[in-house]
Symmetry: C2
């Protein structure tokens, strides 16, 4: 008999309590200062309990990423309805992505360090995070598909979403190191980069460039953790 109105099995409820407490602490105190002992203490349970529900600290971070990505999707999809030009649509996806990260900038380095190892399950390029990354890649695919016909060659068009999501990871990397007020530099970089893309992408139709670009994209998009 469940003690309260909360649904699910006991395990599910405990798992949710841990999840909530951990995410709150990550947001407030960052990665390093969030220790499983503090979380366990706060919830009046033992250290082993958290590891029973989440095999490792990184699995808790995974939950945070999922939250962020769902928020990203929601924010981006809402705005995508209002734009039709490709570059503007990309601007939406990139900008809303950075928006979601903003609250974590103070501790971004800690998170990056945990995420960057190819062996880490929370590496965006890892097999374990494939679903997660697919959410964002899907956003870029949506942005590309829904754009007014740009005359992009099909092969380039097919490679674009993956390349754009990798660019997003690079932008996020830049953002981590961005010490300017409110990460203004990152926004400026995004603006200028997209402007450049807007003038350069149409050139992809030229046969010579098209081949080189396709080779480059197919090489880069093969990257995996």
């Amino acid at each position: 008999m469940p003690r309260s109105a909360e649904p699910g099995t006991k395990g599910e409820r405990t798992r949710e309590r841990i999840r909530t407490a951990a995410l709150a602490s990550f947001r407030e105190n960052g990665y390093d200062a969030t220790t499983i002992r503090k979380i366990a203490d706060e919830l009046g349970m033992s250290v082993g309990a958290t590891n029973y529900h989440f095999p490792s600290k990184n699995h808790l971070i995974q939950e945070l990423y999922l939250d962020v990505q769902h928020a990203h999707r929601a924010a981006a999809e809402r705005l995508l309805k209002t734009e039709t030009r490709l570059v503007d649509r990309l601007a939406i996806v990139y900008a809303t992505g950075i928006d979601q990260l903003t609250p974590y900038h103070a501790h971004a380095g800690e998170f990056l360090s945990a995420a960057v190892s190819p062996r880490s399950p929370i590496n965006p390029l890892s097999a374990e995070s494939a679903d997660s990354l697919e959410v964002v890649e899907g956003l870029f695919a949506q942005a590309v598909e829904g754009a007014t016909p740009s005359g992009l060659p099909d092969d380039i068009r097919a490679l674009l979403p993956r390349a754009l999501v990798l660019a997003h990871l690079l932008l996020a990397l830049f953002w981590v190191y961005d010490t300017s007020e409110n990460q203004r530099r990152t926004r400026t970089l995004l603006e200028r980069g997209l402007k450049l893309l807007g003038t350069a992408l149409p050139l992809a139709r030229l046969p010579i460039l098209r081949g080189a670009l396709r080779d480059m994209l197919s090489l880069v998009t093969e990257v995996r953790a």
Copy 2:
């Protein structure tokens, strides 16, 4: 009275012993499997001794990076004497840089994780590693300066070394994730990227592009850990 023919004070000799043992272990076992306790045991001293000579494990890694960078400089400078075209000279600096990393590829993720945090003293972009990075930036400066006059605008030319060294860091990042045989993909990416640069860079003379490029470069080269 020094026990052997080794020079320096006792402290200097001990420091050197620790350094040598640590670097050997890093090369052989990687970052994680190299514990200060193992090093201390191997040398018949206590854990505190290593921390007396090197405040932290990362300071030991710093030594490894210095080694790598000096080897990089030696290898690059030797080859630079044989080439005059800008792109070929850049190819030398990039390729010899990756060459130095090659022995560490098996454990590259561990090292990356330790180095990537903006707070880490071994972050290439940190103040503590400024000297180290300057070595490589100097190589790129050399490569640019020694090239046959390319008609590059002065403002672009001035920003180039810093931008090129950042590109090198990105290439190294790609290399970490490169699972292809002997990191062949990284070499291919380098080739294609340089080829692209070779055809695109002359366009930097056009006034319109020049302004945009300069803005972009000056934005990116401001990045610091």
